[in-house]
Amino acid sequence: MPRQRHRPKLAVWKFASCDGCQLTLLDCEDELLLMSELFEIAYFLEASSAVVRGPYDLSLVEGSITTPEEVERIHAIRRQSRILVAMGACATAGGIQAVRNFADVEDMKRVVYASPEYVRTLEHSLPASAYVPVDFELPGCPPSKAQVLEFLTAFLQGRRPSIPTHSVCIDCKRQGVVCVMVAEGIPCLGPVTRTGCDALCPRYRRGCYGCFGPMESPNTESLSAWFLVRSGLAPQQLVPLYRSFNAAAPAFVEASQRSADPIGVQQATESPWTQAVNERESANGEP
């Protein structure tokens, strides 16, 4: 390989999160030693308590921004980082803790904590990009090891990372998985969810939970209409479907609000899709 002029300094930061994204990095077992040769691992508390001061060539940020202190910290990290990458569903789409965005956070604090007066938190759980410019996002809960390695490889080689943004469906089909929605009627978020997991759930005959967040052009309106008419889900069942790991991703926010709001549901049942299904079913008459 070409000789590195210097080993890039890598920092890994944690915000409101479960640490699963950092574990994805540690899970790169075969590549871990090599990574520690190619990068100067300057700040990665989950792996080592040895800390090297900034600035950093590459910062990987895990977790969502949920407190005033975290707002200050993400700005400080941005100032010290040449490239800042948001890693995982929390850092890219608010994480599951973003369900608070749809409720009164004071009410929630009283339910969860014995002494809520000690909890200083923001009203919303938001991705890093809500506060600072983010150079690249690696989605997923947790992110894909393959995508993380592809990003790091591309970074080292100075090329564009090849990380697709299409639907999970394409992965299912590439792998020869039989569609759980079509063949078993299981509601599946795959058609509106971004690739990255290698179609993990459908491979085990489960519907997609949307861990990688919205794909590049998600048509949640059409998919929701199908769930209501053909999978027999009630509108209130659609809300938690979209409000999970990527609750604050704009396309899923819109989808969940549409389902939570009776007018939105009315619009869905009057959509061209629903009308076409009803027309066809009344025209066919027979099975």
Partner: protein
Amino acid sequence: MPEAVVVEASQLANLLAALQARKYRVIGPTVRDGAIIYDDLTTVSDLPVGWTDEQEAGEYRLRRRDDGAYFGYAVGPYAWKRFLHPSPFTLWRARRTPDGVIVELTDAEPSRFAFLGVRPCDLAAIGILDRVLRDGPYVDPSYRDRRDHVFIVTVQCANFSPSTCFCVSMGTGPRAENGFDLALTELLDPGSHRFLVEIGSERGAEILRELAHRPASASDWETATRLVHKTAARMGRQLEVRGLPEALLANLEHHRWDHVAARCLTCGNCTMVCPTCFCFSVEDRSDLTGSVIERVRTADVCFTTAFTYTAGKSLRQSARSRYRQWLTHKLATWVTQFGTFGCVGCGRCITWCPVGIDITEEAAAISGLTRKDERP
């Protein structure tokens, strides 16, 4: 009538054995995860005996049948391109060594396949892929090397309900006249389970000599013909193809494109299940140190933004433009490009669209053409 014989259903095991003895990797229908798919067969018990399928737009269900039929169903989600044009497919690999860069070809000896249970529509689809990938000016060597060796056992369409099929409209079925080595028609009379076998090649005739057989009688032919006619008469879908390319291209701004775009998920399922969609993308992959590089070909899909990404921007931003590209390519511009339709009427895109978009319905609405097939 082509040369034909009759074999008992029990001879299917001998057919499989004869193919295996010639070192073919035999691929055929088998039940997996709630559907009939094509995969490696080792014994006849791998075949979906006693199974059928029920298909509708956006819906597929496996059902039991009690007549012991081997081939009593339409097509499943995966077409034969999976084997002829695999994805992902590593084209070559290069390693950096102390002695310099070493390039290895990774497809030195592709499998010799025997396809058992190729439906006439899928046979037509292979013919279309041949035109594009083998017989045209730009030959894909990996396709050619697989295709040239394939032994094809067609099964004429009988004994099932073709609900999302429209091969009659496309002129590709339910009976294949040629292009196969052997073609079976399954005859399920009370007390007599047998196959009418048509011989399509010298290789086919050679295999057949290893099976106990008798000449086909007029009544065998009569039964086979009646069964296939029955399938033709029960086509679940129709499409008027006369004047279709011109009518579609004259309606590129039809409001129906907006209507279907509102439903389209741009998920790409239709192209992935289509037996003729062949688009691919090629990318280079490298390890962390850049000492091993692979060039990999993967199936590409005109419903993704990456498909038309060029000079910093994707050219087809809207679902409308992507669906229109796909449908007009299948049913209009393919004709100009390759001399045939890019659609064989297998109905996979209708069944496997997660929200049940029906290409025949959309094409009829946009072109303004309708058709009622003449019953044979």
